[in-house]
Amino acid sequence: MSASAEADRRAGALGRGRIIGGVAAGLGARLGVDPVLIRIVFVVLSLAGGAGVLLYGVLWAFTSIGSATPVEGRRPASLQQAAALGLITLGVLFLLRELGLWFGDSLVFPVALAAIGSAIVWTRGDEADRTRWSRVTARIPGGHALATATSGPASPVRLLIGTLLVAGAVAGFLAAQDGLGALRDLGFAVVAALGGLALLFGPWLWGLVDQLGLERRERIRQEERAELAAHLHDSVLQTLALIQRSADQPRRMVALARRQERELRSWLYGQRDSLHQQTSLQAAAEQVVEEVEAVHDLQIDVVVVGDAPLDDRVLALLAAMREACVNAAKHAGVATASVYVEVEDDQVTAFVRDRGDGFELATVPEHRRGVRDSIIGRLDRHGGHGRVWSTPGEGTEIELCVPRSRNSNHHHSTEQQA
């Protein structure tokens, strides 16, 4: 928390943004200038024979507390404003110098320079600046503390400029006091020593950094290998063991092998997210089928023609499709089924087909309820339809259809990705 923010908190009862009399804040609000700049101007002018203090007092007297409007959030100082204010201050300084209200060149100019430098560092940047700064500091160990200490007011560029100005001010002050000569000698000594050290230890340091990079890459590679080994052990080897034990159950063997193949494939070629994270109908349809296959003893061939974003209607179609696949797994009594999905301009259609037992719609009331509620009813609610063809002994085909919304809401594809 910065000093001014701290002050804000303390002065909360008096009105926001006030430190002493709220003059700078009020003036800043009136002029649309960052109050910090105005405060700095007052400080500089105060050094000029106390003119700043006088001015502050006069302005305070003229601003009545009652009419002091609470300052809305500070507006960042633009470069233009800062420059204008700087020039005005400079002008006033020269005027005061002419008038003799002056502590002496050797003090005023360096202090003014230092004040400007610190202003550049301490004035709050805009929001973008601040987040960038906090991102930068977050990456340095202990950077967070640094960010809070400076309350995120400056970008690295501002820091640099400010530091240069302050350094210049200090140098100027020392020069005025004849202390610069000593400092220059010291500077040369330091630079020479640093140069010697660089020559001595530079190559060794460079090698060390290189070595560290190499070791890090090697470690990452080893971790990947370990992860692969662990995955193969957990899944593939276990499955192979299971397959060996179920040699007398060919269907179970096929199901195990198929499930393992899918798992390994999705593990090798990218992580699968949840259905709502999928962005395309193709991927989502394949995932629905995989999930059904994983739970039930059924192989499903999937063919998808065309593609569409996932909107509510498509998701409803996929849910009905899942239900139809589960029905085939439970009731058809066969090992395979086919799923076909086609995207057309005005609708999306899906077929789920098996060559299983089939059923008479009229004779299976509870099953029909399932079909009616979770398949046909669901599609009706989304403006689509579901149809069932089934012949006992020949199999079943369920047709699912939803209309396509031209301006489909990309809820699931975009917002959740963000």
Binding site: R258, Q299, D301, V303, V304, V305, G306, A337, S338, Y340, E342, F351, R353, E397
Partner: protein
């Protein structure tokens, strides 16, 4: 009945070749196998098989390289692509090179034997997946700026689309025939016509999945 058909097997997985040999052994005559493109080309030239079972993906150019090397000199050799699930453009590329069909490796042995028989007779073998790929490839209108030398080639007829949709839904040729009230022969004619269009049309260069890709 098909024991007389001479089959050559090309796949870079030795285990898979052994499995297919064991499955097909009683039904066809396997005259040889190969695990890479060069060996395959040599073997096919030597044995002159009726049908080559061909993996889509292989080191050294894949199934397409094998077909291109022997198709000109041995026009009677038929190719059937057999592969795990692949990207559409790879499968279409193998078909365009001259393969008469595409089936996935999960096909049952009986179905594979009958597919080999059909390819041997000169028919096209469309698995549901291939039917889906083709429907995708011929979807939509021809984009502007594409020269269509033969408009007939660049789109499917309504009947052809109907047949393909049924195949994609998992129907056999026989089932498609009875559903559409046509003969199995007519279904095969439609499918062969689609295969011809797929091999000769310029359309593959403009489909959504081939956009921006060089199919060579």
């Amino acid at each position: 009945m098909t024991r007389a058909i001479r089959v050559f097997l090309v796949d870079d997985h030795r285990l898979f070749r052994a499995g297919v040999r064991a499955e097909l052994g009683p039904h066809v005559t396997i005259v040889g196998d190969a695990g890479d493109v060069d060996t395959a080309i040599q073997g096919i030239r030597q044995t002159k098989p009726d049908v080559v079972l061909l993996d889509v993906h292989m080191p050294g150019g894949g199934g397409r390289a094998v077909i291109q090397a022997v198709h000109e000199t041995l026009p009677d050799v038929r190719f059937l692509a057999l592969s795990v699930s692949d990207a559409a453009e790879d499968v279409i590329a193998v078909i365009r090179a001259g393969a008469r069909g595409y089936v996935t490796k999960t096909i049952s042995p009986d179905d594979l034997v009958s597919a080999i028989g059909r390819v041997h007779q000169g028919d096209a073998v469309f698995s549901p997946r291939l039917a889906g790929f083709v429907l995708d490839a011929f979807a939509g209108d021809l984009p502007a700026g594409v020269s269509s030398e033969d408009p007939e080639l660049d789109q499917l007829t309504t009947r052809e689309k109907e047949v393909l949709r049924h195949i994609a839904r998992g129907y056999t040729y026989k089932e498609v025939a009875s559903r559409l009230f046509i003969s199995v022969k007519t279904v095969e004619t439609h499918v062969s016509a689609v295969l011809r269009k797929l091999q000769l049309s310029n359309r593959h260069e403009l489909t959504a999945w081939a956009a921006g890709r060089d199919l060579l």
